[in-house]
Structure formats: C-alpha cells, structure tokens
Symmetry: D2
Subunit: 174 residues, 4 copies
C-alpha cells in the first residue's frame, strides 16, 4: 500500500444544519481529490458530512473517537479506520496533533477547543463559517486563515500544511 499522504483534519459540530453539511461534504471531497487523508472526530453532523465527501471521492477516512469502543462511540458509516481513544474530549488534542492542517466548518465549544489546541501547537487552521477570533493581547495569528468556499479552504489548508513542512525542514537544517 502506498503512503497515504498528507493528513488534514476537519472539525465541526456533531449537530449542524444542511448548509454546514454541504460545506463539510465539499471540504471532504476536496481533501480526497488532493490525495490527502481525512481525519475527523468520527461522529455525526459535520463529521459525517466531511467523511462522506471524502469517502465517495475515494479517500481514506480516519475517525478519532472519544469512547473506548464502537458501542460507546459508534463511528459514522464512512470511517474506515477508527481510532478509539477512551479519553472523551481529550481526543480533540489527538485529532489536531495528527493533522498537518485543520479545517473548521461552523462549530460549537468542542470545535473551538480544537482550533485553540491546534494553534497552541503551531498547526494551521482554516475556518469556513466558523469562529472569528481576536487574541486579547492583539497579537496577530498568521496560522489562522479564513476561507470563502470548501475548495478554497482545502487549497489554503494544503498550502499552509506544505508551508509548515517546508518551514520546519528549513529550521532543522540550520
């Protein structure tokens, strides 16, 4: 089996209306078409829609789940590779750390924790109709990027992910 390629996480609410679901599905599709692996929380709402988009476009879908097994945390139908953490919302950290970039579609407090944990670790976050955030100290955050469409979001996420990798390599060399 070939190396599955860049890993991109999609985060968003387990509930979510049709507009959000359409966007998330578009994001999932674009991730798969780019040859990247989709990571998600494995649950419903935005997570299901993104997973469906990726899966139907032939991509690999990894679900990072909060429960200890499929009884407690049933993965949605499009998750091919379920990772059961047994750690509830601490799984949010595992999800973002395993991604080269994160795309946030809509979302509540769980999604906000994922955005924050990603940026805390220097992982770029692309938002699509999601949280707008201004640091209390006014510091700019170049790794937090707003997108205008699902395709734009994935394009920017891949760019940031590759930038991150290039940047990291440069640092390692010096």
């Amino acid at each position: 089996m070939r190396r599955p390629g860049l890993q991109i996480a999609v985060v968003g609410d387990a509930r979510g209306d049709e507009i959000l679901a359409d966007r998330a599905e578009g994001v999932g599709r674009a991730i798969a078409r780019a040859g990247a692996v989709l990571l998600c929380g494995g649950g419903g709402g935005v997570m299901t829609a993104a997973a469906r988009g990726a899966s139907e476009a032939g991509g690999l879908v990894v679900g990072i789940l909060p429960g200890t097994d499929a009884d407690g945390s049933p993965p949605n139908a499009h998750v091919e590779l379920p990772i059961f953490t047994g750690m509830g919302q601490a799984r949010n950290l595992v999800l973002v750390l395993s991604a080269a970039a994160v795309v946030a579609v809509g979302g509540g407090w769980g999604t906000l924790s994922e955005i924050a944990l990603a940026l805390k670790h220097g992982i770029p976050v692309v938002t699509l109709g999601s949280w707008k955030l201004d640091r209390p100290d006014g510091a700019p955050e170049p790794r937090l990027i707003a997108a205008s469409s699902p395709e734009d979001a994935v394009r920017r996420a891949l760019e940031a992910a590759r930038g991150g990798i290039l940047e990291q390599r440069r640092e390692t060399r010096e």
Copy 2:
C-alpha cells in the same frame, strides 16, 4: 483535615505582563479568602501569580501539570499539591473538569482551549481581560460571564459554581 471546599480553576498565559499578574494575584487571594481551593496549571505567569495570591492568603493550591515529573514540569513555588498528568495540553481538560467554575485572566491559545473545554462540559467561565467570544451560530452562552475586577470575578465564579451545584441537585431530585 477538613473538607477543602469548592474548587475554582484560574487559567491564563504562562507569560503575561504585570497588569495581568496583579489581576491574577487578586483572583487567587479572593479564592482563598472565600475558603475555596485554587486549581491552576502549575506553571509560570498568570499561574504563578494566582497561586501566590491564594497561598499568601492561606489557601490550598493544586497544580495540574503537563509533564510526567518535577524535572519536566517544575511546579511553581506556591503549588502545594502537584498533579502530574504526563499528557501535555490534555491536562487542560483535567484542570477545567476538576473545577466548579473557571476564571480566565488574559491568555493565549492554551487558555482559549480551557475556556472552550469548560463550556463544552457546562462548567461556568468568568473572564477578566480575556477572550471575547461569539458563537458562529449566534447562540447565547449564559455560562460565559465577563467580570470587571478580580473580586468581581471570584464573586461571579462562586455564584455560578453554587448555582451549578444547586441546579444539578435539582435535576438529580426530579
């Protein structure tokens, strides 16, 4: 030893200027004077200032640390009871879940993750010169409360914590 009482978490940046440190120390002092236990991340900046405030006022200070031991995660000088999680930023979840309410003073992405994780679990958060947050879906969040001073912050946190406990008890009875 008597029951240590309500547990209140103070979260905020490991760095942080003098204004923030003064506020955090005031918050710690007010928590101890109210007979509550201070929980914090155990590190520097806001965490040290809050811990000093509580400790000097005779309160118990618990530090929930990211590392596996004192070599990797030295607790600040005011932590009496260090809890080493060995789980990095996943300790943010442990910190907020163990609190009846959270007070956020200033803060960066780690602090934002703590605010978000607390609200995700229904734990009230009082902010003092910290993140201003509007949900993308426009839903109100009655558990997110802005305060005007350290004393006001702790008064509101205790009120919210007791309200939560009363509310919880009511639910349990029905």
Copy 3:
C-alpha cells in the same frame, strides 16, 4: 495551609473482599499517620477502604477519577479533593505519576496497568497481596518491593519515595 507533604498512591480493585479492605484501610491509616497525602482512584473497594483509613486518621484524600463529573464518576465519601480527568483508564497514568510511591493491594487488570505505568516511569511500587511479576527478559526490578503488612508496606513506600527524592537530588547536583 501547610505543605501537605509526600503523596502516596494506593491502587487496587474496585471490588475486593473484606481481607483486602482491611489491608487497604490499614495502608490508608498508616499513610495519614506518616503525614503523607493519600492519592487513590476515588472509586469503590480498595479505593474506598484506603480513603476511609486515611480520612479517619486525619489525612488528606485526593481522588483521581475516570469520569468528567460526579454524576459519571461519583467519588467515594472520603475523597476531599476530587480530580476529574474525563479520560477513563488513562487516569491511571495521572494517579501514579502524581505519587512519590505506589502501594498496590490485591487487584485486577487496572491495578496491573498502574503498577506497570509506575515502574515504566521509575516510580517505586510496594505490593501487598498483589501481582507477582517476573520480567520476560529476567532483568531485576529494584523498585518493585513486596510487603508483609499494611504498616510494612507504607514504611517501605516512604523509604523508597524518600530514596527516590534523595537519589534525584544527588543526580541534579552532579
């Protein structure tokens, strides 16, 4: 409030017969009498018995719980300071890392995971009617110590904990 002193964890089964409970209660009592803080998993069986022993002897009892709150993970009646991890059995790691030494009384697979995680991190473990373990590679493990009574177990745990601290200090100085 004065510094609570050395932290000793007691681990063992949530179920457990009267003989185990008597031993665990004796261990808890001896920990409190030595001025140390008792850490436990906060649940039933050995955890309740150890907590009761420490609490009745005037000691501070910290419970490191698996659930996100008291509804999901009710602390036993002797826990004064509950830490909710929300991470299920990953809390076993938090429990042992926060201790200067671990005392294991009886126990099943969860207890074995705590013994193993402690030794993995170089934290001494004293067993009392618990697992007997021989490494597959035949290597000796000086930090795994068998005790003959509750008092003997706590004496050895304190010795090992202080030894560890002395040893660590010596290393730091050189």
Copy 4:
C-alpha cells in the same frame, strides 16, 4: 480505497534483541497477509520490526505515537499513518482500544501496561515470549492466550478478534 479491515496491535519493547525483532517482523508480515491493519507504537525495536514486516508484505501500518509531532516522536520508516497523541504513555490506551486484538512480543513495563489495559477493556491479548501473568485472586483469563510462533500468534489473534466481534454481536441481538 477499500475498507482497511481488522485492526491488530503489536506491542513490545523499543529496545529488543534480534530474536525478538525476527519474531515481531514475522507477526507484522502475517498480519498484513491476513489483510489486517497493523497498529503499533510507532517507535523502535519491536515496533519497527513489526512495522517492517507488515509494510514489506503490503499492509497498512498505523503508528500511535507518544509525542506531539515528528520532531518529538519520530515515527519509524514503515509507519504510513502517524497518529500523534501528545500524551506520553497514555497513548498505550489509545493503541490497545483501537485494536480488535493485541499481540505482545517480549517487552518491558510499557508492554505490560498495554497488556493490562487491553484485558481491562476485554480486548484479547496473544503473547509470544512475553509476560506470564497469574491474577492475585486466581481468576482465569480466557482472553490472555500464549502462542508458539509468529504465525500461530496472528492466527490466534484473528480468531479471538473475530470471536469477540461475533460474541459482541450476539450480545447486541439479545
């Protein structure tokens, strides 16, 4: 991409002699030939050998790593899908919960914690030259199975994994 199939974890020491490495490589190869996905800790020793065996036989290798990124926790060369937990040894829990069965080859305290955490959650464990364990209470453990060769280990792991799935289904139906 097709559904990757059953997930089997291989656990064992990061160090480990040639005999262990040969066995682990055989286990990895047999897992891949059976069409299953190999999960491992992503590091050296037994983990590298098992991953190489699976990868050379065309299987998918998932690494569940302790660090926050590839700098802190470099995945071995055969890991195609790295999951960074940022939670140190708490990743042992994620590793075993994500597997339908665990194969333990040799191993130290970390491996023992994985065996114990798996059995705590009812996940079958097949041992190959690894820990021999007798519960202090003398209770039998039908899910702990000793194997005589790499091929035998994987055959028994798959059998136990499928048995577990069948058994679970039966429970769900009733």
